[in-house]
Amino acid sequence: MKRIIIATVQDRGGVLNRITGMLNRRQFNIESISVGASDVRGISKMTFVVEVSDKQKLEQLTKQLNKQIDVIKVLDVTDKAIVTRELALVKVVATNQTRAEIMTLISAFRADVIDISKDSLTIQVTGKPEKVDALISLLRPYGIKDLTKTGLTAFPRGYQPEQGYSELNSVSAHG
C-alpha cells in the first residue's frame, strides 16, 4: 500500500542523508521525497510517498523516523483530508504544426508554457499526481525530450471530517 508521510525535522547538517540512509538500510521503498523549509527557521518539512507491504511495516517506518534525533514529528496523512501537489517540468517536441495544438491541450490542465524554442516547448504543470501523470501521457505522443518531477508534497486540510479519507487520497495512479 502507498502511504503519504510528512516528517517535521530539525534542519541540521546531513539530515536528509541520515533519513534516506536509514530508510534504505531498513529496506523501505521510497517512491518520492520532497524537502523544503517550513515557516519556522531551522525547521524543514519532508514529504515521503512510500510503498509498504503491511501495517506492521508501516508502523516500523514511522517509529524508525521518529527515532531519528533530528525528527520532531511524523504524520501519516494518507487517511486524513489532505491537499497534495506535485510539480512537473516537461520539455516536449513542438513543430510549427503541433505547437498550437499542444498549447490548447495543456490549457485544460491549467499548465503553463515557461519556455519556447524553435523545436520544443517547456511546460510546467502543478497538481495532484494523477493530473500531472494524465498530462504527461497526453504529451507523450508528441515526443518528450526531458521530464522532471518534484515529488509529492502534502498538507492536512484545515477541516478534518470524522470519517477516514483514504479513498479520496488514493495515490494509486501515481508512478
Binding site: 525535522v9 530539525q10 547538517g13 546531513g14 542523508n17 541520515r18 540512509g21 536509514m22 538500510r25 506492521q56 508502523e59 516500523q60 517509529k63 524508525q64 521518529n66 527515532k67 531519528q68 534525533i69 533530528d70 525528527v71 520532531i72
Partner: protein, 573 residues
C-alpha cells in the same frame, strides 16, 4: 590611555584553544578516563591533554580498536559513558567495529575523531575520511564541529544523547582547524533537542493490563534483557518476580539482571539457551519482555516463537516494540520506572503451580550437560572451575564463539554488571580490551577475560596496557587451536569440511605474555586446573593462562538456524 596591567592579564588568560574547550567540556561531563591514540589531526587535542592538569586520565592503547572496546567494557561495568579519542582517517576508521558493537548492544560512548582542517575537507587530503558519512548508520547521532562556538554545546548534547533513552554511541568529528583555533572562553553549552525526548514513564493503563493478564495466566514467563541492567532495575525485577512467582528467562546480554541459579531462574534462552528456558517460552501463554529486543538468536524461527503467548513488551525504544514479534501489550518506558509501577499493582496471581512444577521437572530432566575428559581440558568444566574459584563474583568479559556460550551457560551471574560480552555484533577481539576497561572501572575487583585463541589474536597487542597501567586482569585463553564455533558449524552443517577454521600455527602464549612483562601460565591437564586458577586469581598483577581445551567439543543444546525454539538438538547426551 592608561592600560590596566591586571586587566590585560585577565583578557589573555581568557584565551583558549578549541582543544582546551574540549578538555573543559570533558571535565564538566565528569569524565574519569579517556581511551585514545594520538595522530596528526588530534595533535592539538593531545597537546591540550599535556598542557592541562586534567581531572581525567588517558589510557594509551596500541590500536584504536583496543581503545574503543576498552571504553565499551568500562561503560558496561561502570554505567558511565565510555570516551574515546582517535585521529582522522585510519585512526577513526579503526573505531568502526567498536562503534557498531556499541550501537547494537546499546552501550553509551562519546567518540571524538580528529578531522583534517576545514580548508581541505572534501579534497581527499592526507588521512581524510568522511566520518559523518561512514558513521551515520552505526551511531545514535553524530556531529562535525564546524564552528568553535558550538563545541561546548555539542559535547554536552553528545553526553546527553549517549546516556539517556536507549544508550548508544555518539561521534564528534573535530577538524584540526577547530581544535587549534584560539578563541575566547565564553560559550554557552545549553541545548534544545525538540526531536529527542525519550519516554521514561509508562502508561499506567498499559501496566495494569500486564497484571490483569498475570491474574488470568497459567503459564507466564518473564524475559529479562539488558534494558534491566542499563536502567539499574535488578532489585525491582527481583521483587516483582518474587511477588508474582514468575519464572525468568534471561537473554545473553541480560545475564545478571536476575540472579542465575535462583529458584525462579530458568537460565538463558535462545540458540544455546537451556531446554527449560526455550520450551518455557514456547509453551507460555503470557510472555513479558522487559528490556530485550527479540533478537533472532533468541527467537529462532519467528513462526514458532511463543506461538500461544500473549506478548507484553516493555522497552524504552518504541521502534523495538512490534519489530519482530507481534505485541499485545506495548509499553514504552524505562525498565525501572515500568517495574516501579508494576510493583504498585495488587498481586493477584493465577495458579502457576502446575507450570512451575513442570519447569522444575524439565530442569531436573534436561540440565546442561557435557562430556568430561582429562587431557585436554573439558571447556565447560573449566568454566565451572573458574566460577567456583571466583565465588561467582568476578567481572567476566568474553569474545565471541564457543567459549562465550560456555561462559553464558556455566557461569551463573548472581550480580548485575559483571558480564561484558559482545552480543548483537558478535565481535571477535572484543573480550580482552573490554576487560581492560572493566578493570579500570572496578580497580579492586577480580576481572577475568575469557577468550578463544582466535579472538585473542585479533587484539592481543593491548597486553601492553596491562603492563603499563598495571591492571591485574586475568586472561584465560580457551585454546583449542581452532575457530571453535566455525569448526562446530562446519562439523554440523557442512559435513565436516573444516575450511580455514583450524589453526596449525599458534604463538606460544606463555612466552608472548612474558615478552610483555606479564606472567604467563599453561595448563593442559584437568588435575592442574584448580591450583593454577587459584594461583592466577590470587596473583597481584596481570596473568595470561593458556588453557589447552578439547578441540572437538561442541556447544549444546542448540537451536539450529531456521528452527523453532521447540526443536533443540543436543538436549541430552
Amino acid at each position: 590611555m592608561k592600560v590596566n596591567a591586571n586587566q590585560e592579564v585577565e583578557v589573555k588568560s581568557n584565551l583558549v584553544t578549541g582543544s582546551d574547550l574540549l578538555v573543559q567540556a570533558l571535565e564538566k561531563a565528569g569524565v574519569e578516563v579517556v581511551f585514545g591514540y594520538p595522530g596528526g589531526a588530534v595533535l592539538p587535542i593531545y597537546d591540550a591533554l599535556h598542557r592541562n592538569d586534567t581531572s581525567f586520565k588517558h589510557v594509551l592503547s596500541r590500536h584504536e580498536q583496543g581503545s574503543i572496546h576498552a571504553a565499551e567494557g568500562y561503560a558496561r561495568v561502570s554505567g558511565k559513558p565510555g570516551v574515546v579519542i582517535a585521529t582522522s582517517g585510519p585512526g577513526a576508521t579503526n573505531l568502526i567495529t567498536g562503534i557498531t558493537d556499541a550501537m547494537m548492544d546499546s552501550i553509551p560512548l562519546v567518540v571524538f575523531t580528529g578531522q583534517v582542517a576545514e580548508q581541505v575537507i572534501g579534497t581527499d587530503a592526507f588521512q581524510e575520511a568522511d566520518m559523518i558519512g561512514i558513521t551515520t548508520p552505526v551511531t545514535k547521532y553524530n556531529y562535525q564541529v564546524n564552528n568553535i562556538a558550538d563545541l561546548p554545546r555539542i559535547v554536552n548534547e553528545a553526553f546527553h544523547i549517549a546516556t539517556t533513552g536507549r544508550p548508544g554511541p555518539v561521534v564528534i568529528d573535530i577538524p584540526k582547524s577547530i581544535s587549534e583555533t584560539v578563541t575566547i572562553n565564553d560559550y554557552e553549552d545549553d541545548f534544545y533537542l525538540p526531536g529527542y525526548q525519550p519516554t521514561v514513564y509508562p502508561n499506567p493503563m498499559q501496566i495494569s493490563k500486564i497484571t490483569d493478564e498475570l491474574s488470568k495466566a497459567e503459564r507466564p514467563v518473564l524475559l529479562a534483557g539488558a534494558g534491566i541492567l542499563l536502567s539499574g532495575a535488578t532489585e525491582e525485577l527481583k521483587q516483582f518476580v518474587n511477588n508474582w512467582e514468575i519464572p525468568v528467562v534471561t537473554t545473553l546480554l541480560g545475564l545478571g539482571s536476575y540472579p542465575g541459579g535462583d529458584n525462579l531462574s530458568l537460565g538463558m534462552g535462545g540458540m544455546h539457551g537451556t531446554y527449560t528456558a526455550n520450551t518455557a517460552i514456547y509453551e507460555s501463554d503470557l510472555l513479558i519482555n522487559i528490556g530485550a529486543r527479540f533478537d533472532d538468536r533468541l527467537t529462532g524461527n519467528l513462526q514458532h516463537f511463543a506461538p500461544n503467548a500473549k506478548v507484553a513488551h516493555i522497552d524504552i525504544d518504541p521502534a523495538e516494540i512490534g519489530k519482530n514479534v507481534k505485541t499485545a501489550i506495548p509499553i514504552v518506558a524505562d525498565a525501572k520506572q515500568a517495574l516501579n509501577v508494576l510493583l504498585q499493582q495488587e498481586v493477584n496471581r493465577g495458579d502457576y503451580t502446575k507450570w512451575l512444577d513442570k519447569l522444575k521437572g524439565n530442569q531436573k530432566k534436561y540440565p546442561l550437560w557435557y562430556d568430561r575428559g582429562d587431557n585436554p581440558i573439558s571447556p565447560q568444566w573449566l568454566i565451572e572451575q573458574i566460577h567456583e574459584k571466583s565465588n561467582g563474583e568476578a567481572v567476566v568479559t568474553t569474545d565471541v564463539g564457543q567459549h562465550q556460550m560456555w561462559a553464558a551457560q556455566f557461569y551463573p551471574f548472581k550480580n548485575p554488571d559483571n558480564w561484558v560480552t559482545s552480543g548483537g555484533l558478535g565481535t571477535m577481539g572484543f573480550g580482552f580490551p573490554a576487560a581492560i576497561g572493566a578493570q579500570i572501572a572496578k580497580p579492586d575487583h577480580l576481572v577475568i577475560s575469557l577468550v578463544g585463541d582466535g579472538g585473542f589474536q585479533m587484539t592481543l597487542q593491548e597486553l601492553a596496557i596491562l603492563k603499563s597501567q598495571n591492571l591485574p586482569v586475568k586472561v584465560v585463553i580457551l585454546n583449542n587451536d581452532a575457530l571453535g564455533m566455525v569448526r562446530q558449524w562446519q562439523e554440523t552443517f557442512y559435513e565436516k569440511r573444516y575450511s580455514h577454521s583450524l589453526f596449525s600455527e599458534n604463538p606460544d602464549f606463555v612466552k608472548l605474555a612474558e615478552s610483555y612483562g606479564i606472567k604467563g601460565m599453561r595448563v593442559s591437564d584437568e588435575k592442574d586446573v584448580p591450583e593454577a586458577l587459584e594461583e592466577a586469581f590470587s596473583y597481584d598483577g596481570p596473568v595470561v593462562i593458556d588453557c589447552r581445551i578439547d578441540r572437538d567439543t561442541c556447544v549444546y543444546p542448540m537451536i539450529a538456524p531456521g528452527k523453532g525454539m521447540h526443536e533443540m538438538i543436543g538436549v541430552t547426551k
